[in-house]
Amino acid sequence: MSFMPVILWTDALIFALLAGVLALIWFIRRHDHLRAPWVVVAQRPMAMGAALVLGAFAVTGLLDSLHYRERLPDSQAGKPQYSVEVMSVFDALVSGLRTRQEKTYSGPLAIQLYAMEFVERNGVAVRDYPRLQYGGAHLQHAEERRADIARRTLAGAAQGALASLLLFAGLVAWQARRLKLPVGTWLARWRQGSLNWPARTLVGMMALMLMLGGAMAQLASGYHVLGTDKVGQDVLYISLKSIRTGLVIGTLTTLVTLPLAIGLGIVAGYFRGWVDDVIQYIYTVLNSIPGVLLIAAAVLIVQVYIESNPERFDTAAARADIRLLALCLIMGMTSWTGLARLLRGESLKLRTLDYVEAARAFGVSNARIISRHIFPNVFHLVLIAVVMDFSGLVLAEAVLSYVGVGVDPSMYSWGNMINGARLELAREPAVWWQLGAAFAFMFALVLAANLFADGVRDAFDPRLGGRR
């Protein structure tokens, strides 16, 4: 075998989460009352457009979670040796971006370095901006750059448009056959927007994303689209790699939050009395300790643990990963209180409802009442909270890494990018592209998550009448 699969802790958890989500989708599809609000979500153009963007992020993150170590070329057949560098499928797909490393900073789509150096020109050492090793290396003259960029952009966009046309044709054929409609009728309905799902928005969004992706791909093969950072790494590559970090923080943290919030919240509200008192004291105390302090302490502990047990972590990636996991854990431990409080209140209300009384009149056990009567009726709140918290957690990671208590400095993350760009902003002219790229990616992800969360909340909120 030419590689050895590596399953990091977070990888395992992410795929477990994916399996959980798929199981949940399967479960929801089989229950009408659970499916109904999702049908409403699926009919909202804004939510579905956002979901498409989220999907693109998620696919990138998932590809980036399939890790492996390459076999060293000079290792013996019987006793294979593997590279210490942990790669992912995503790395392999965009290997060009990863390997084409420059010396130091260069601007977006630049063909020269950002700093002056002595270069030898016709035997004379001149102080000048040297040409980049990879960015625009195919150009003979600097003047061709503009035309080349335009050509590549157009070609990429055209490829994207072509791909989306093909996809659309496939969709039309499939849908028309499924609904047993003539293609023309389906197209007319699509144009009027009278299908029962937001097909126009989705098709438009898909085309836009494909065209953007095509243009990016074309440009990236010859340039550093978003420039390079201090050590000459492609900023686009870093930004893309950061997606996984953001997603891990956003999703795994909720995985830690949920059992605590649901369990303690419902138990406190349902049993009341001293149970309620104890749980309330716990979360009041937890809430009154500054979160950053707890996080900093926990990260320090993990750091010490890693350093005192080096034999447990064979690669740098494993070390960074365990720190990421620890961050998720501690953020989860500090952020369950809000949801728990909400669920406690809701359970307090539900326990007095007649159907719970009726169940008690039958002598149904508490565990069964909670699982059959209380939990299903607070589930929509859990869902709304999860979707809403996601964006907050992604942003929290950025802030924590900026403060220095976030993920491992060697890990690609938007927080680390911002942290790295912090000092360079003072340069004249400023190095803005690192910050800009982190901002743009984070903005796209958080905006999409928020728009989607909005759609979910509207569909699940009984006051807006979406439920019945």
Binding site: H33, E357, A358, A359, A361, F362, G363, R372
Partner: protein, 686 residues
């Protein structure tokens, strides 16, 4: 007489274009000054929407699609919003159903009234607060000056509703719109508030638009009546003509569906005739209106009522009827004037005799005290005596009604019997077996409960079949593989379609949900069913269906009911025996005929008296109770009822009365009754 309010062809829609729901469809009527016009209808018929359209206060998405509204000759719908604000409150004012929701809970009552005065009369400072005090006084709030400084939560429901009325009067409106003004109130308080409204109308010569579902309230208060159904006005006429001869089949069936056993004609029956085993309502089934009130979204061709009308002919189903005038009445029915005369419901003798069985349930000295905890270590500083020494017995196949105003502890009794609330003291013997916390599952096999609100008593996330199976599973009733068949049988028993089991509760209407709730209670084949106001959340026509069902089930299964209610008409129809509760204690108990026809305790008398009648009781002295029920936290000394009792004397203030037997199985706890010297006080009735 020039009308004060004239509404012509009002059409109100909610939603847009194709999806628009016509909640009000071509309603025309007029109200003269000093007149009360009652809009009568079941829930969802569009009566509140009509009122909101008049005020132009429609909810989001609602709009007036057609029609005109003239108030004193001024076109209200054409006014710009700026002027409309002066009309609201100044021209017409509105009183809402739920006074707690209509008053701002964090602003003192006085401020809220003064605010209206400042807005509409330009008063300020001292003058305004004096005017506010005067207004509160005029709506009969005792100690008005002190009440100005109260927050809404410090007032009882009746006082809150009066404060609302005072606020509405602040703008000196010419028209008062009262949207179910007394539905949320107890019957004795309702009588007080209706008195206030009647008094104000004559004093200020206001027009009044009274919106209600209660025929009794209409009969006592309205001058003219309009019956609404599914967004349309079906019938209109002067009160006397309408109540003498309702013309529309719907109006007629509303009358028939009402359990009006308290008609004065029957009240004059000699008490002795009521056999101790029968009940007043025996033999007469309520007429029910089949089906449900159509939803605003349902498109119905022809007459709206045709699908539920027993007289409907082919023409009704595709041609909407026009107004037909009969004497003083207008009616929209193709068959107007051709219907057979309204037949008086005959009182037949009970068709079946019930065996005198021994007591199925015997409760002695039941007490439920809730501790009031204060302070850091939650020490109890006192007790709310929600139920204080209640003794009851119910025989197999019989119905005991527990009657009382809200807060008297009747629901607590029901829950304590099922040990949903742990009783503080007392013994419960069910079917000869003493029930303690240890053998609670025996209790649960034999006694079950049907709750008041069919919307909160069914878990919206469970299928009907699972809801019905829950009790059987929990108590291990029957073999597991036969339970599915049992579900089908139960559904048939309560008159639900066979496929109901696979659906979720939200697919059913209120009446159907209550049937599901009854089926759930029956699933474990109990011998006693505790019904906690099972029909108070339902419309009149649906209420009749449920009452008939309960009666049928009792006859076929020999169930005993503990029927908890505040609705005396329902008691009259269903109960064999009645126990009247006041402040945690039973003050009068006896056979239904005796208690309802010849009440002895002053409280029972007032309760029976306060029920709005369709035909006013002739020659009977009206007893109106003053004040509110005291708090069970701090009950008055002596007889709990003495602060409100017209006959109270010094003894009443000091000594709690013993039972006085006044007839066979009929007793009351009252010094006044005892002093009338008709019977000797007996310490132990059973």
């Amino acid at each position: 007489m020039k009308p004060l309010l004239r509404v012509e062809g009002l059409v109100t829609e909610i939603g847009h274009d194709a999806a628009a729901l016509r909640v009000v469809d071509g309603v025309s009527f007029h109200v003269a000054a000093g007149e009360t016009y009652a809009l009568l209808g079941e829930s969802g018929c569009g009566k509140s929407m009509t009122a909101l359209s008049l005020m132009r206060l429609l909810p989001d998405g609602g709009r007036i699609a057609a029609g005109t509204v003239h108030l004193d000759g001024q076109d209200v719908l054409a006014l710009p919003e700026r002027d409309m604000r002066r009309v609201r409150g100044g021209g017409m004012a509105m009183i809402f159903q739920e006074p707690m929701l209509a008053l701002n809970p964090v602003v003192k009552v006085g401020h809220q009234i003064v605010e209206a005065l400042v807005l509409h009369q330009g008063l300020s400072g001292r003058v305004a607060s004096e005017a506010a005090c005067g207004l509160l006084d005029s709506v009969g709030v005792p100690d008005a000056l002190r009440r100005l400084d109260s927050y809404p939560f410090e007032l009882s429901g009746g006082l809150r509703q009066r404060a609302m009325i005072a606020m509405a009067l602040a703008g000196q409106p010419r028209l008062l719109i009262a949207d179910e003004p007394t539905t949320a109130l107890d019957v004795t308080i309702q009588a007080q508030v209706l008195d206030v409204l009647r008094h104000l109308r004559t004093e200020r010569r206001m027009g009044m638009l009274l919106i209600t579902h209660d025929l009794g309230v209409v009969a006592e208060n309205a001058d003219r009546v309009g019956v609404m159904y599914a967004g349309e006005l079906l019938e209109e006429g002067a009160r006397d003509a309408f109540f003498a001869a309702p013309q529309h089949p719907y109006s007629r069936m509303l009358f028939a569906a009402l359990p009006h056993g308290l008609l004065p004609s029957r009240a004059q029956e000699p008490v002795a005739d009521g056999s101790p085993l029968g009940r007043p309502g025996d033999g007469a089934r309520l007429t029910t209106i089949p089906g449900q009130v159509p939803k605003p979204g349902d498109r119905i061709r022809g007459c709206r009522f045709a699908p539920r009308c027993p007289f409907a002919i082919a023409r009704c189903r595709d041609q909407s009827p026009d107004w037909q005038v009969i004497n003083d009445q207008r009616v929209r029915c193709h068959l107007a004037g051709m219907l057979p005369p309204l037949n008086a419901r005959g009182v037949t003798t009970p068709a079946h005799s019930i065996q005198a069985a021994q007591a199925l349930l015997q409760v002695d000295g039941l007490k439920v005290h809730f501790p009031i905890r204060r302070g850091f270590i939650q020490r109890s500083v006192g007790y709310v005596r929600a139920v204080d020494d209640v003794t009851l017995s119910i025989q197999q196949g019989r119905t005991l009604a527990l009657v009382g105003e809200s807060g008297c502890g009747k629901t607590t009794v029901g829950k304590a019997l099922l040990r949903l609330i742990e009783p503080t003291a007392g013994s419960i013997v069910l079917g000869g077996e003493s029930i303690t916390a240890r053998n609670a599952s025996t209790l649960r096999r034999q006694a079950q409960m049907v709750f008041q609100d069919p919307f909160s008593s069914l878990n919206p996330r469970m299928r009907v079949a699972d809801i019905l199976l829950e009790g059987m599973d929990a108590l291990g009733v029957g073999a597991a593989n036969q339970r599915r068949d049992a579900v089908a049988l139960l559904l048939r028993q309560v008159g639900l379609p066979d496929d109901a089991g696979g659906r979720y509760p939200h697919a059913f209407s209120g009446g159907q949900r209550q049937r599901i709730a009854i089926a759930r209670a029956l699933a474990v084949s109990p011998r006693l069913v505790i019904c906690d106001e099972p029909t108070s959340a339902l419309d009149v026509s649906v209420q009749a269906q449920i009452l008939n069902l309960l009666k049928d089930l009792q006859d076929s299964l020999g169930l005993a009911y503990l029927f908890i209610t505040h609705n005396l008409a329902v008691v009259d129809y269903l109960a064999h025996e009645v126990a009247v509760m006041y402040l945690g204690r039973i003050v009068e108990q006896g056979p239904a005929t005796a208690v309802l026809r010849a009440p002895r305790h002053p409280y029972t008398q007032a309760l029976v008296n306060a029920v709005p009648r369709i035909e006013p009781p002739a020659g009977q002295r009206i007893v109106r109770l003053a004040g509110d029920q005291p708090s069970p936290l701090n009950p008055p000394n002596g007889c709990h009822f003495h602060p409100r009792c017209p006959h109270a004397n010094e003894t009443c203030r000091q000594i709690y009365p013993d039972q006085t037997v006044v007839g066979s199985g009929h007793w009351a706890r009252c010094h006044w009754v005892a002093a009338q010297g008709q019977a000797l006080p007996v310490r132990s009735p059973n």
